[in-house]
């Protein structure tokens, strides 16, 4: 029998498309409609159990051995409760409900909790502390924007439906003709696939975004540039872009990791926010980060309302302490302070810099995930989890902080619980051990 689930939310990228249709046949996902290629792959791979983690495992004499869930939870709780300074890392590809339990676990353990922002949009958040944040929901872009700029972002690859759902192609209330009513500008170090669609492409020299933003600010604020080019961009181009920005009726600047992870980092974003603030003296302008993991935003939100800070929180004082550069995952790891790690829905062994990974390998690791990864392969306890948004419900926040309810379309593999339940069991046990 075939059952069609409609209005399903794709729990892959921060675009968080919620119009997916999923056909389920005999308990397996048979067909996926409306999702992009990467989203479709995620849905379809859920039902390929040969690629999944299915049994809890504990390392014994150097080898991972299948055990009962109770044993795995017990071992995980012992490792974490016995640590002086555990690091709880990951969190961006799971639900807010799991994040919430993780935060309490970190508090009870007096540990450090951090998510993948630390290696992607952390700098954007730090810039918000300095300069504020001038933004909107994506529907404002859809209905109003006549100038769309992507800076250091290539949505054609990373967020394939971003242009068609929100920014360029949709017909909006005030933009009835869709892309014909809008201008697309791309600023990047190379001509990406997104840039090929743009009416204007501005090639900035690598690592010199800050200068280009400063030049734009100068021109926007009525000054004449004393030099012929800045960051590889001619004065004419800068003046033209500044004029486009000032004269549009609703402009949006989407930025990606090209801006957050190039030299200047949070200062780039700070400067970009200031540029947008300047532009608001002349017209309507907003800015938005292109968040990657589907619920990276949710983690910052939950941590902010529960503990006051968006990432990198250290509970060793009993309350939340936040100091990026000190309490961020890689800094804690590289200073060699951690003596145990809990990794949830993430693969730092593949993604972290070598000095961090070297230290990780020296400590016991508890990993909760859906699929095997290099991190689960080196872990001492591995607990499989159901997939939020496919096998269990939950909450996720889109890149513009719009919260959506993730749906369940199929049952998880037999015996596999949600990470929420697994974390709750670990938390209960840790509380008992800690007394």
């Amino acid at each position: 029998m075939r059952v069609t689930h409609r209005d399903v939310v794709c729990s892959f990228c921060g675009t968080l498309c919620d119009d997916i249709e999923v056909d389920v046949e005999d308990g397996r996902i048979a067909e996926v409609r409306h999702a992009c290629r990467i989203g479709t792959t995620k849905f379809l791979s859920a039902s390929r159990h040969e690629h999944r983690l299915l049994k809890p495992m504990v390392r014994e004499n150097g080898r991972l051995k299948e055990v009962s869930l109770e044993e795995a939870v017990e071992r995980a709780a012992e490792i974490l409760a016995g640590a002086q300074r555990p690091l709880l890392y990951g969190w961006s590809s799971t639900s807010c409900e799991a994040q919430s339990v993780g935060i309490e676990l970190a508090e009870v353990l007096g540990g450090v909790i951090d998510n993948t922002s630390t290696v992607c949009h952390g700098p954007s958040t730090i810039a918000v502390h300095e300069a504020g944040f001038i933004s909107c929901t994506l529907g404002e872009v859809k209905n109003r924007a006549d100038l769309v700029i992507y800076w250091g972002a290539n949505p054609m690859h990373a967020h394939p439906r971003h242009l068609s759902r929100y920014s360029i192609y949709p017909r909006g209330y005030f933009r009835e003709r869709g892309h014909q009513d809008r201008t697309l500008v791309v600023v990047d170090v190379r001509r990406t696939d997104t840039a090929r669609l743009a009416q204007k492409f501005v090639r900035v020299q690598p690592g010199r975004d800050y200068e280009l933003i400063s030049a734009l600010r100068a021109v926007v604020n009525g000054r004449k540039l004393p030099m012929d080019e800045v960051a590889g961009v001619s004065r004419e181009d800068i003046e033209e872009l500044a004029e486009m920005m000032k004269s549009c009726s609703f402009g949006v600047l989407f930025f990606g990791m090209g801006l957050t992870q190039s030299p200047g980092r949070h200062r780039n974003i700070d400067n970009a926010i200031c540029l947008v603030r300047d532009l608001n003296t002349y017209t309507k302008f907003v800015i938005m980060p292109m968040r990657g993991h589907y619920n990276v935003v949710g983690f910052s939100e939950v941590l902010s309302w529960q503990a006051g800070f968006p990432f990198a929180v250290d509970f060793s004082k009993g309350y939340a302490w936040y100091n990026p550069g000190e309490t961020t995952a890689n800094d804690v790891l590289q200073r060699g302070e951690c003596d145990a790690m809990l990794v949830v829905a993430s693969d730092p062994v593949s993604n972290f810099p070598k000095p961090s990974v070297e230290n990780m390998l020296k400590m016991p690791i508890v990993a909760i995930d859906v699929h095997p990864t290099p991190t689960t392969m080196v872990a001492d306890v591995v607990i499989p989890a159901a997939i939020a948004g496919i096998e269990v419900e939950g909450t996720a926040y889109r890149m513009d902080v719009v919260p959506l309810r993730l749906r369940k379309v199929v049952e998880p593999p037999e015996g596999v619980l949600s990470d929420v339940e697994v974390l709750q069991r670990i938390l209960e046990r840790v509380k008992e051990i800690k007394g």
Partner: protein, 565 residues
């Protein structure tokens, strides 16, 4: 669970009880006539009141969290570690959800309504409310710049507007209709604002006057428990009192459907400004109070300012931009498709500033010049005028002319010159304090089992360690402030949750929302329009918009059969 609170001085003005020594009997979470074999707690020499009710405080949701995210410096000012009962907490003007619950409870509050819930973000607001312990909760759904509302009203389709508003309350699990700078936040979508009741909203064939009048009509046709809750146009602008008076005039032709006001003028302080430049900025509290005194259709909450560093946040995007351009401080803006435009910026109210001084005086003038305490509610529009934990200070100011004078003397002379506060010698008594901190709120919200201690009321009680017989609040205002800062006992739903100012038990309260029924045929028609709006203009599917009950702690639908067909 049974409990007797013995021998306290009870203030329950809604039931005509004003300081009588009596016992309060509690069983199964309710106030009852009598219980036997119950645990007794001696409250002799103490002040007993119904649990406090907060009607307008920004405690949960998108802009509150944006403020937290933007202001890490705010959190490090106030921290406490986890205990065996409570979670770790932090935050000053933007406290964490846990701290919000604990801090209100310590002050004797048992219910709180968050001031503005943007529909598309409703799930976020409820996620945060879920994490606010100790309190019964509710949220006010913003509709003053809603496209569908504006369209229906401009086309004169009032029944459709009613049915849509009812649907929106249900979908967002909201409790009442809130409007913020009607028309202005939509104009902000183009970086503009509206500055008078008769400005046209760009691209929408409607004016703020028509929106406000329309929302009141919707509210009364639906016969909702609360009235329209209005943040008028021109908040914070010099000379805005004329706009406010014109707005209050609009209530004249609205017939109340229940025994309550038809409009709550919220954070009235911010709307009572005279003068024509910041140089001659002055109080017009007298004019506003006069309008409220002469009408039985109006109530207000103060929006009191207390000096210090705080964070401003409203769904009034253009106002926050304007304010941040005055101060040069960081600014967050978050326009929400088809609905509203919240903004956030930090602010410091300084005793040395002539403007802040006048603002401080205006809030108190309003509370003291409106004759009936039944029409006044103590708020700071948390955290816009000040964080909510400054309430005990405000209670003391209301009860003591001397304490006000002391402040007035320290302020910039404009506060004396451009206000009449110094000449007001009215001092509130305990009953009046009871009205303005709980009873008036419960009345205004239509919460029949709150704000009083009659039989059948919720067993939400605050016991303050102060003897009303032997205390002269006019002189001992510091003792008043101390007592109201930390209860001897807070009882929530019949359980002792705070003892001697410490949380001893964490409970999660109920979440109240309004479910107003309208005719099926009408509802179907309106849902067709809603569907069209979602297909064409929203970026989420209609099916993913309504908030599921799983997000609410002990959800409680207040059913209303409106008669709208």
């Amino acid at each position: 669970m049974k409990l007797v609170l013995k021998n306290g001085y009870v203030y329950d003005p809604a039931n005509g009880v004003n300081g009588e020594k009596m016992d309060i009997f509690i069983e199964n979470g309710k106030i009852v006539e009598e219980v036997s074999g119950a645990k007794e707690i001696d409250c002799s020499g103490m002040l007993v009141m119904p649990g406090g009710v907060e009607i307008h405080s920004h405690i949960a949701g998108g802009k509150v969290n944006t403020a937290r995210l933007m202001r890490p410096e705010d959190h490090l000012r106030n921290v406490a570690p986890r205990t065996s009962v409570t979670r770790s907490v932090c935050g000053y003007s933007t406290p964490s959800t846990f701290l919000t619950g604990y801090a209100y409870s310590k002050m004797g509050y048992t219910t709180a309504f968050t001031a503005a819930l943007p529909p598309l973000m409703a799930r976020h607001t409820h996620e945060e409310l879920h994490d606010i312990p100790m309190l019964d909760k509710g949220a006010l759904t913003v509709m003053g710049n809603n496209w569908l509302i504006m369209h229906y009203l401009s086309e004169g389709r009032i029944e459709h507007a009613c049915a849509y508003a009812a649907w929106l309350l249900r979908a967002t699990k909201g409790y009442a209709i809130k409007a913020v700078n009607p028309g202005g936040s939509e104009a902000w979508g183009w970086g503009r604002d509206v500055r008078s009741l008769d400005d046209r909203v760009p691209h929408f064939d409607i004016t703020p006057r028509e929106i406000i009048r329309g929302l009141m009509e919707i509210n009364e046709r639906l016969s909702l428990p609360h009235s329209v809750h209005l943040h008028p146009n021109n908040l914070g602008r010099v000379g805005n009192f004329t706009t406010t008076l014109e707005t209050l005039e609009l209530t004249r032709d609205v017939k109340p459907s229940r025994e309550r006001q038809v409009l709550q003028l919220t954070h009235a302080q911010f709307h009572s400004y005279g003068g024509d430049s910041w140089r001659n900025f002055s109080s017009e509290a007298e004019s506003i109070a006069k309008a409220v005194n002469s009408s039985d259709r109006l109530v207000l909450d103060m929006g009191q300012v207390v000096f210090g560093d705080t964070t401003t946040m409203t769904a009034d995007g253009p106002m926050e931009y304007y304010l941040s351009s005055l101060t040069g401080l960081k600014w967050a803006n978050k326009d929400i498709e088809l609905e509203t435009a919240p903004g956030v910026t930090p602010f410091v109210y300084s005793e040395k500033s002539p403007v802040s001084g006048v603002q401080w005086a205006i809030g108190l003038e309003l509370a003291l010049l409106v004759e009936s305490p039944e029409k006044v509610m103590l708020t700071t529009d948390h955290p816009n005028g000040a964080p909510f934990f400054t309430y005990p200070k405000i209670v003391a100011w209301l009860m003591s002319a001397k304490s006000r004078e002391e402040v007035l003397e320290r302020l910039h002379r404009a506060a004396q010159k451009n206000t009449v506060l110094g000449s007001i010698d009215r001092e509130y008594g305990w009953s009046e304090i009871c009205w303005v901190t709980r009873t008036a709120q419960a009345r205004s919200l239509g919460l029949e089992s709150k704000g009083h201690l009659g039989v059948g009321a919720d067993a939400d009680v605050a016991v303050y360690r102060i003897d009303p017989e032997s205390t002269d609040p006019a002189r001992d205002y510091e003792a008043v402030e101390r007592a109201f800062s930390a209860t001897a006992l807070t009882v929530k739903g019949g359980e002792v949750v705070v003892r001697d100012g410490e949380v001893v038990k964490v409970v999660s309260g109920r979440t109240l929302y309004v479910d107003a029924g309208v005719g099926e045929e009408l509802e179907r028609e309106v849902l067709k329009d809603v569907d069209y709006y979602f297909k064409r203009f929203y970026t989420v599917n209609l099916a993913n918009y309504p908030v599921q009950e799983v997000y609410l702690t002990s959800p409680e639908a207040v059913k209303v059969d409106s008669g709208v067909r």
